[in-house]
């Protein structure tokens, strides 16, 4: 059967690779070049697993940059500031106490303090943006909150990068990636949750949810400030032998993508309940006008729980692999392990309810908030109340 030619026109789907622009390829080239540079420079110090981690990180960074464009600029700024700081430090840790830029801006305590401050101020603007009477004020306030959040995430990452370098400056055998104690991981939690929120914000072009997302980050910031002021927890300590492993580099970040996603989805759950209530009480009020629709909120909540669940599963299994190497067995029913299982069971039940029982909306929103309480106990409560093998972040 003959088919006219032009009937077949306009059906090509632009493939993902072909849709990439000049900047995407420049980005890939730059990341790749940096990775090669790192490999050439530090090859001797890297074991085969570290090399695999380097390769994986390179691929992931290129992929994330392609998939979510703002990540490219963010990474470049973070890398630029971190390299500047490293140059300012030279080989002297004491430079952190004398150099003006380091003292006030870029040493890890300064950068993390900036992160704290920026997150807190961003929260104020986001809340103002959600609650303000006038729409013009709301839009401007939310925009400001958004910029401040970007800045906070930048400073937080710079703080972590610099802290990494500082640990080597104190003494070469101190050196380790700053994901080893409760202080480190709280900073990590703040930046990861911030980033996960910003991803949502750019994808949905919707900012009012920031008021809730930033609240949970602010709570973490408050703890961080309390923890460093009262316990001086920001001091860089050397690693205990059990933590000296390449596994730490993948187990902990994977876990925090999970924790961050769960935290954000819990706050989306709160937003859902808020809007649901507002729709009944004040259908034309500010909350209803500014928060996304219930359907979208429900969808976001699910997506972040799914993301969190996937990474939490991965992280727990990575943890099991590490435990098999460090503790003599892949599972020891250590309190942290057990609570990770409880968190996992909780979200597994949540997902089953959604898929098989068709639950939607309010009960799941409330449940996702309860999930945050369980997660928080796993993340923090275990360290405070229970003892066990994971006692690296003792309070």
């Amino acid at each position: 059967m003959s088919v006219p030619h032009d009937l077949m026109d306009g059906l090509e789907r632009p493939s993902f690779i072909r849709a990439l622009g000049l900047f995407d390829w420049l980005w890939a080239a730059l990341v790749l070049a940096s990775a090669v540079g790192v490999y050439v420079e530090f090859n001797a110090a890297l074991g085969v697993y570290q090399q695999a981690i380097l390769a994986g990180t390179t691929a992931a960074l290129i992929g994330v940059g392609w998939y979510w464009k703002p990540m490219r600029l963010l990474s470049l700024v973070i890398a630029g500031l971190s390299l500047l700081t490293i140059a300012l430090y030279g080989s002297q840790y004491s430079a952190g106490e004398s150099n003006f830029i380091l003292v006030w801006w870029l040493s890890s305590p300064a950068a993390i303090a900036w992160m704290n401050g920026l997150f807190l101020v961003a929260t104020v603007f986001y809340v103002l943006g959600l609650a303000a009477r006038g729409d013009a004020l709301s839009v401007r306030s939310l925009a400001l909150g958004s910029w401040l959040t970007w800045a906070a995430v930048t400073m937080g990452f710079v703080g972590l990068m610099v802290r990494w370098r500082e640990s080597y400056l104190i003494a070469p055998d101190f050196g380790h990636i700053p994901v080893s104690n409760l202080f480190d991981v709280f900073v990590l939690f703040c930046v990861v949750t911030g980033l996960l929120y910003l991803y949502y914000e750019t994808r949905y072009r919707q900012r009012a949810l920031g008021a809730l997302a930033l609240l949970i980050i602010s709570a973490a910031v408050a703890f961080l400030i309390y923890y460093s002021v009262v316990y001086h927890a920001d001091k860089i300590e050397p690693l205990v032998p059990a933590l000296k492993s390449y596994w730490m580099k993948i187990h902990v970040p994977a876990n925090f993508i999970g924790y961050g996603s769960f935290a954000f989805s819990a706050m989306v759950g709160v937003a859902y309940l808020l809007r649901d209530r507002a729709e009944r009480l004040r259908p034309d009020g500010r909350v209803v006008r500014r928060l996304p629709s219930l359907e979208i909120l429900d969808d976001i909540m699910y997506r972040y729980i799914a993301l969190g669940f996937a990474f939490f599963t991965l992280a727990t299994i990575l943890g099991a692999l590490w435990a098999a190497q460090a503790w003599g067995g892949y599972w020891s029913w250590d309190p942290k392990e057990t609570w990770a299982l409880i968190v996992w069971l909780n979200y597994a039940a949540w997902l089953h309810m959604r898929f098989t029982k068709g639950w939607r909306g309010r009960p799941l929103a409330a449940w996702s908030f309860i999930g945050l309480i369980v997660t928080t106990f796993c993340f923090l409560g275990v360290n405070i109340f229970l003892s066990g093998l994971h006692s690296y972040g003792k309070l």
Partner: protein, 671 residues
């Protein structure tokens, strides 16, 4: 735990099986089990597991101790009921996979080409349009479009209409299978590595838990396991230079002895420290010898770097003393000559000294005692207090006090002290006796001072001199007064030597009416101090020192408080460590977990499955084309997605727009 309820078409099974499968595969049961596991897990974290039973008795009292023991709460994760729940969960998940798996596979394979127009119209995403293009043209365009978008496409001609079905992301359904089978596989692996066989053997009485603290060689065969145990995790402490071919499995309130198919010799154990004093590395140099094939492996085991041999893994788990050799002096606290002796850590010795009998039991020797002390700038700094030894002294009644003595004198406020901690039980903190070090850091001066205070003749002589010079200064010459003063001085010194200041105060209480007590007490103290000074000056004189220096007086000021508490030290002698040879022991953990590989396989399936489930959507689209008499056709386009409906909505709109972009005009009239 399934997404598709497979209820229909199973009439051939007997109704009981159906009901049973229905029950086991039901969502409600699954959720109940998930919650039950979660709650049991919480119990296990709140109640500290695998502690000595005596601790539990103290914590809960005898009644609740027994109740909790019956419930297996001291080892929840090995308790029968917990394993039962896990097994139940496994069965439930398996049934779920059994019931829903075939449906899932059908979902992947079948394109549903017989779909009815009615059901397409019921879909959330559907559109129906008239096209001027004939059925074949529409079909060709739709096929190309869908293929370009990554859909697999099948077509069927039903005579009066054609159906074109596209599908994408069917692996999402595989995600269901992988996650659920993965869980079952993990549980099977966990079961292989569980203590279940051991517990059955214990319950049947084939094995008995050994609770006595006896050498491994004396453990009876009923508490021993041969090398064929399916899975275990045991520990053993091996002193440097020694060999072991067993490990101890901690079970309930005792242990079992597990025979290994090889032997382990620890050549050396070492600890590296950071500049701050925290340990940075523990390493055991071991030699593994397998008599079965006479193979010998030299290896260094570190934390995070276990030795793997023939399915066994050997970990650096802990360390301790391996029976260090100790030389020590026992200074009787009445001034006698010290007894020179030697022993080793964990050794027990009967001591018969001039001041009393004691049983000496060495507990532990530590090479480093890192202490955080505040530095000049306010920041704490680590300081190494040097080696220390702990020991018990048991009196003839069997009552023991615990001691901790440092090897070298410690600097406190610029002065050197020999420190000895004492306590009555492990729950108490140590109270430290501070003995000031004499010239050249020695302990002799203090011991001689102690001796002088127990020498009545010497005390008399010193009291005589002291009272004489005091009375002379006061211009009093009554011999009776002099005798009285001398005698009371001797009495005070003896009271002080045997009971410290307390004894002196008690004496004042007894002898002086309440109204005069304070004045009398102060007077007594003055006399006592003068007498002690007298004794000290006498001591110095015998050493050839006639003009005591400032340093000598500082020593005296520090010695008097130590003398005052000496009667409460609880020991008739002071143990001074004079030399040592450290022998360490490596705490090794040996495990045999053949289920590991099974668990990892399950974990791999689980992760892969989870990512397929959440990040891949199973999308289906249909194009139903009904030819019209005028050469055109009626096109019904519909689609569904089981995930991320919002993303699909966008894609569906795009597909719709592209599909119909050229279908409005007749296909043959345009070129």
């Amino acid at each position: 735990m399934g997404e598709v309820a497979g209820r229909a078409g199973r009439g051939r099974h007997s109704s009981l099986t159906v009901v049973l499968l229905e029950f086991l595969g039901s969502m409600n049961l699954a959720i109940t089990l998930l919650v039950a596991v979660a709650i049991a897990s919480v119990i296990g974290t709140v109640l500290q597991q695998d502690q000595p039973y005596s601790d539990y008795v103290l914590q809960f009292g005898p009644f609740w101790f027994h109740v909790f023991r019956q419930l297996g709460l001291y080892d929840v994760y090995s308790a029968g009921w917990f394993l039962f729940i896990m097994a139940f969960l496994m069965v439930s998940t398996s049934v779920c996979v059994y019931r829903n798996g075939p449906g899932m596979l059908r979902e992947i394979r079948q394109f549903r080409l017989r779909v009815q127009a009615k059901s397409l119209r019921l879909m959330r995403h559907h559109t129906e349009r008239e096209s001027a293009v004939d059925a074949a043209g529409v079909g060709a365009r739709a096929t190309r479009l869908l293929r370009n978008y990554g859909y697999r496409v099948r077509t069927a001609d039903h005579g009066d209409h054609q159906v074109l079905a596209g599908m994408k992301g069917g692996a999402n359904r595989l995600g269901y299978l992988l996650t659920h089978i993965g869980i079952v596989v993990i549980l099977v692996g966990g079961l292989i590595d569980s203590k279940l066989p051991l517990q059955i053997a214990l319950a049947l009485g084939d094995l008995k838990v050994e609770t006595r603290d006896i050498p491994a060689s004396q453990v009876p065969p009923s508490s021993r396991l041969g090398p064929g145990t399916l899975s275990f995790r045991g520990n053993v402490n091996i002193p440097e230079g020694q060999t072991a071919d067993i490990v101890f499995l901690q079970v309930k309130d005792g242990y079992l002895v597990q025979q290994l198919p090889f032997s382990l010799t620890v050549k050396k154990f070492s600890v590296k420290h950071y500049i701050t004093g925290q340990p940075s590395d523990f390493r055991s140099q071991v030699v593994l010898h397998d008599p079965r094939n006479d193979k010998t492996i030299d290896s260094t085991i570190r934390v995070n770097h276990p030795l793997v041999y023939d399915g066994y893994e050997i970990y650096q788990a802990s360390f301790g003393d391996g029976g260090s050799k100790l030389d020590f002096k026992l200074w009787p606290l009445n001034g006698g000559k010290p007894l020179v002796s030697h022993g080793s850590v964990f050794g027990k010795y009967e001591l018969n000294t001039s001041t009393g009998k004691r049983r000496l039991e060495f507990g532990d020797f530590r090479m480093f005692n890192i202490d955080q002390v505040p530095g000049a700038d306010g920041k704490t700094k680590p300081r190494n207090l040097g080696p220390s030894v702990t020991f018990k002294l048991r009196d003839p009644q069997g009552v023991a006090k615990q001691y901790m003595n440092y090897f070298v004198p410690q600097t406190i406020n610029g002065q050197l002290y020999y420190l000895s901690g004492v306590r009555n039980s492990p729950s108490e903190p140590y109270r430290f006796l501070h003995i000031p070090a004499g010239p050249h850091g020695g302990i002799q001066r203090f011991m001689r001072f102690v001796g002088a205070l127990h020498d009545t003749a010497l005390l008399r002589r010193v009291a005589e001199q002291t009272s004489a010079s005091a009375l002379k200064a006061a211009d009093m010459h009554d011999p009776a007064v002099r005798t009285r003063i001398r005698e009371s001085m001797v009495r005070l010194l003896q009271q002080f030597a045997n009971g410290g200041y307390n004894a002196v105060f008690e004496d004042v209480q007894k002898r002086v009416p309440a109204a005069h007590r304070q004045a009398a007490g102060e007077a007594f103290l003055k006399v006592l101090n003068a007498a002690l000074e007298g004794v000290y000056i006498d001591l110095l004189k015998r050493d050839g020192i006639t003009r005591p220096t400032q340093q000598d007086w500082v020593w005296f000021q520090n010695a008097v408080p130590a003398l005052s508490v000496l009667p409460f030290y609880g020991s008739p002698f002071f143990l001074q460590l004079t030399d040592f040879k450290q022998i360490q022991a490596a705490g090794l953990q040996v495990t045999h977990h053949p289920g590991t590989i099974v668990v990892y396989a399950g974990a791999g399936m689980l992760v892969l499955g989870v990512f397929l489930l959440f990040f891949l959507a199973h999308r289906r689209v249909w194009v139903r084309i009904e030819p019209r008499d005028d050469g055109g056709s009626t096109v019904l386009f519909a689609g569904t997605s089981n995930r991320n409906v919002m993303d699909f909505e966008r894609q569906f709109a795009q597909l719709e727009e592209r599909l119909f972009a050229r279908l409005d005009k007749p296909g043959d009239g345009s070129s």
